[in-house]
Subunit: 368 residues, 2 copies
Amino acid sequence: IASIKPVYKIAAIPGDGIGAEVTNAALKALDTLSQSSDAFALNVNTLDWSSANYLTRGWYMPPDTWEDELKKHDAIYFGAVGWPTVPDHISLWGMMLPIRNSMNQYVNVRPTRVMRGTKAPLSQLDAKPSDLDWVIIRENSEGEYAGQGGTTHGHANYAVATEVAIFTRVGIERIMRFAFETAKSRPRKKLTMVTKSNAQRHGMVLWDKVFHMVAKEYEGVVESDKMLVDAMTVRMVNKPESLDTIVATNLHADILSDLAAALAGSIGIAPSSNLDPTRSCPSMFEPIHGSAPDIAGKGICNPVGAFWSAAEMVRWLGQGKLDQVADQFMEAIENVTGDPKTRTGDMGGQAKTDEVTDAICREIERIC
Amino acid sequence: IASIKPVYKIAAIPGDGIGAEVTNAALKALDTLSQSSDAFALNVNTLDWSSANYLTRGWYMPPDTWEDELKKHDAIYFGAVGWPTVPDHISLWGMMLPIRNSMNQYVNVRPTRVMRGTKAPLSQLDAKPSDLDWVIIRENSEGEYAGQGGTTHGHANYAVATEVAIFTRVGIERIMRFAFETAKSRPRKKLTMVTKSNAQRHGMVLWDKVFHMVAKEYEGVVESDKMLVDAMTVRMVNKPESLDTIVATNLHADILSDLAAALAGSIGIAPSSNLDPTRSCPSMFEPIHGSAPDIAGKGICNPVGAFWSAAEMVRWLGQGKLDQVADQFMEAIENVTGDPKTRTGDMGGQAKTDEVTDAICREIERIC
Ligand SMILES: CC(C)[C@H](C(=O)O)[C@@H](O)C(=O)O
Ligand SMILES: CC(C)[C@H](C(=O)O)[C@@H](O)C(=O)O
């Protein structure tokens, strides 16, 4: 009996180093999930955009066609980009950052919590693992990553270089609204907004202003407060239970989300979703870790961040209809991290990437 | 028998909130120290520059004369500035930031270690307290704090604001050299340089370039490496023992030094020195914490960061001749933090600011 299910088209960009290894693992898990489920199927198109190919072809993404190519898909699954043979600002501006910009992915969602089996530095002190359950909403389209600025007298000893951060009312307001809506949807309904408006008195002050404006609309619904980014790191360490949803600029949230992942026990488990909430372009899902040249090729990297990112992709694609499947996927992931035999080195175990991947597939088959 | 000792002129700016309380405590300790010591005396001139006075007078620092006024001193001791009645960017640009800029204080030194008696989150896990012994060298005169940028269409829904970070070869090279010299003077002789040059491709790339240039001169003497600021937070949490001296931009080091203080157990103990290494202007010493309106006026704030900052001031003033006195001051401080009865609330104790201050004075008298 043939079943009829929606088929989503996915562009998979494994990229460099462990990016390719974890993408491979995530695609296996996704394949098992879609086979086990009546609810959806995936049609995966793998794109060989990487630093190695850049060195032979001269481009990361085909110059005239990459935007059209990506737009043929419902979502993008991304591994990692960056390799010692190419300066980092060339590789990142050759691939990941242009996708975030051109695909209108103005929200980057970064949930952090202490997964079963994780040895979180914080949970060793006074805090309980359940105290650390955050979602960081990162502005993903402007600010410190606008790419503007330049260098004058580059080779002279009086060289001057600038980095120009651009903040727009439109950009700030839409991320603020997204953040308040996210906070509203969570049990604790709390939002903390982060800036550095004491020292940075133009764009950051506009952030404050728009925050106060939007906060008024949510009075009595979402409890909100604001923090300076430096003090925020202290609060994350000392009072994790006081935080819930967090919204910050492109750079600040980049830093805070890595810190969050470290405090939760491993950068290897943290996911990220680059979303176009208007759904006019495909959104992109990637683990927050990078290509990790030091451990690449050894088959020992942690695929859990890639699995979690894949689960978020399924949830996003379903627009509410695949929540149960995504929840089952997450349950399978936590069963795997919960078992000492299927943890990689960064989580204190000895399992290989393949073993963790086999385990997740078995769990998915069992649960779904 | 009259003794002859050098008398240093100090401008004390207590400022706002607990800034005033800890300055008061530090001045008492310094007074006791100079009384007990044959090596130096202090002539302290207290300046009433604060947010409360700003509200009545319309200025933080006397507009035409503040620079000349400060330059009459050998050093500046600073409490904290910032109060809920004045927007933070007005207060900070009204006092602290202009001093750093105009007094040529292009280096900000922020040591972090786990003081005796401190409950450091990290030390609870695998790390030993001795693993966390860092000094962060913060660029203090340009970068993201240059103050440049502006707002256009501020009240419209198409407002645009910019923050312009300025990096100069001169500014980068001098901080890099200071950092390498600092690393060279420490037992482990290691330097980690931090940027975000993968996403910020102008000024940050200039940082990388100057770093590599200066690093060559120290080959075989200082072991150096570089990190991205986001990944750096992870390394601080997971591999504290791998770090020694750290150099970073104004904003990055601001964030990392607060995180460092939190990981070492309390932001209340961390000191900072704003240095003009050319000694053409007075340098400024301040605890890294702020004015803390929530606990101000209760007499419960931790004066240890203020003591440590005062010890650094003595060391700086002595140009090598007061190192022993500064070391004794530090020994006294650690005897006080080492005693549960003389710890403030943030360190898990119940002592009042006054009790800690009395204890430090007794210890100084005993040791010196
Ligand atoms: C108060 C603020 C402007 C200041 C800074 O960011 O420089 C403070 O956080 C510090 O670290 O000295
Ligand atoms: C690789 C880098 C440019 C990227 C970023 O800073 O955005 C990464 O750190 C991330 O957080 O996704």
